[in-house]
């Protein structure tokens, strides 16, 4: 028995290492590729360990047309999405958590449905709407569609957070003479803040990664992924590898920062 146990422990360890290699090695390779000089990328076979690390590929990419602008646009759109999604989503999440209003179940169900539907495919008709209203090819247009994408999740996450803040605290504040908005700001908001910050990061990451809507709704005001996608077919491999690393890095930082909240955000609150 114990010998069999030791064998199965070893098998579990080996399987874990194998999966970690499968998940980790591609990230190592894209970093290696993006930090190689253009000349060494033309060699074949490519070395699997860094031989002459160079920032040439990366800096050429960063100096390419539209990349700095795309980076700034991505940042603007991401922050705008966070603000809009929170301004609209947090009150709704609070209402879902605290009030038993008629139609609440329908509201929650429609949130889930909208969350599950590919809203981005609606960006083609949205482009028509935005052309008519003068919003086309602005960062605001992209912000709006990203807000629509992030909103259901923001409402569901914040609702879960407000459920976790004891109602008694709020009621106590009101007994001592606070109005409902004051009680919310002074008592509920501070307790909910870490969770709301997590929701904000989630919205930012969603916006940073979204590419179809951003490509369809803009022409000159491209976000970084949209810029990379539209120049993909006529750019050298070195450019694509550098673009890949530039898009992957924030994601890695994001997961590192958000480790504690991952299971809550993607796991439980989705239900």
């Amino acid at each position: 028995m114990s010998r069999r146990r030791r064998w199965s422990r070893a098998a579990v360890q080996a399987a874990c290492v194998a999966i970690t290699l499968f998940m980790g090695v591609p990230l190592y390779l894209i970093t290696l590729a993006a930090l190689s000089s253009r000349e060494s990328l033309n060699r074949f076979p490519l070395p699997l360990v860094p031989t002459d690390p160079s920032t040439e590929t990366m800096s050429t990419f960063l100096r390419s047309t539209g990349v700095t602008g795309g980076f700034l646009n991505s940042l603007t759109v991401g922050l705008g999405t966070v603000v809009l999604a929170l301004v609209v989503g947090v009150p709704a999440g609070y209402a879902v958590a605290r009030y038993a209003f008629r139609g609440r179940d329908t509201y929650q169900l429609s949130l889930l449905l909208i969350r599950a539907l590919p809203i981005v495919v609606l960006s083609v008709p949205l482009a028509r709407v935005f052309l008519d209203t003068g919003l086309y090819d602005t960062t605001y247009a992209v912000m709006l569609i990203h807000t629509a994408l992030a909103l259901p999740t923001t409402v569901l996450i914040t609702a879960a957070i407000f459920v976790g803040v004891p109602r008694e605290h709020e009621e106590a504040a009101m007994i001592f003479g606070a109005t409902a908005p004051q009680a919310f700001l002074r008592v509920v908001a501070p307790q909910a803040l870490p969770g709301i910050a997590a929701a904000a990061m989630f919205a930012f990451m969603l916006s940073w990664n979204e590419v179809l809507g951003a490509t369809v709704l803009t022409l000159n005001q491209r976000t970084l992924p949209a810029q990379v996608l539209t120049t993909l077919s006529d750019s050298p491999l070195a450019y694509r590898f550098a673009g890949g690393l530039a898009l992957v890095l924030p994601a890695v930082v994001f997961i590192a920062v958000m480790r504690r909240y991952l299971l809550n955000m993607w796991g439980t609150t989705l239900r």
């Binding site: 998940m23 429609s110 590919p118 491999l237 991952l262 993607w266």
Partner: protein, 281 residues
Amino acid sequence: MPRRARVPAAVLLIAPSLVVMTALFAWPLVVGVGQAFSGPDGATTAYVRRMLDDPYFWPAVRNTALLVVVLVPLQFAFALTMALLLRERPRFHGVHFFVWVLPLAVSDLAAGLVWLSVFADRGYLNSTLDHLGLDGYAWLSYQNTTSMFLTVVVAELWRSTSLVLVIVVAGLQGIPKDYDEAAAVFGASYWQRLRHVVLPQLRPSLQVALILRTILALETFAVAQALTGRNLPLLVGETYEWYNVLQNPNVASAIALVVLAVSMLAAVGYLRLLRDRTVTR
């Protein structure tokens, strides 16, 4: 607080979100139907016919369907394996879990570019083969449809399995260990416990993940764009081509509506199929 004041307050709080979702979901849906089915002189099926006659359309339908059918079961098996391995508390499980969820925040475009460095003709896979004295293979050549499809499956498996993983791990945490331990005491084998104790309790999490992943897989596009361009057409990729490259928003809208309709059908179908034991909240 008086009871009747509550209803208006709640409505006031959710009203902005209703406005945003109507303006950005319902309204474009109406506009999209208009774009797809009406031309300069009234109602027409010309755009729909043009979509159906396009040589890329049916391959795109086939590839998208094939991708969903191959990818989703594969990644559920993969995610379940990962979650069960973590449950055994291997050494460094924190590190393993961290690496396994890293792709969670990686976009599909970035994932395509990451795997491009592996599968490109002069990329790392062929380099490794060369180091080992083996011949390379043109993984992404338009002549090798199968290997092209497989590269997209691998890249998507790498990127999107972590979503299933976190849902399953969160689900496993919610299951009390007592049942499993009781079954073990009565002599049930590992596989018996997995089949009759763990999986049934994991059912709600698996359902959510299944609906989400099926619909997200229908949307796959940037991975294939980065790896193969238009050589492996997918439905959402065709929307992009018709809008950005061919500059025909009407046909693009028609394809978008197809994607939306299939997603809705899938969502409703799953909910119907799984309704009897489904908990909606």
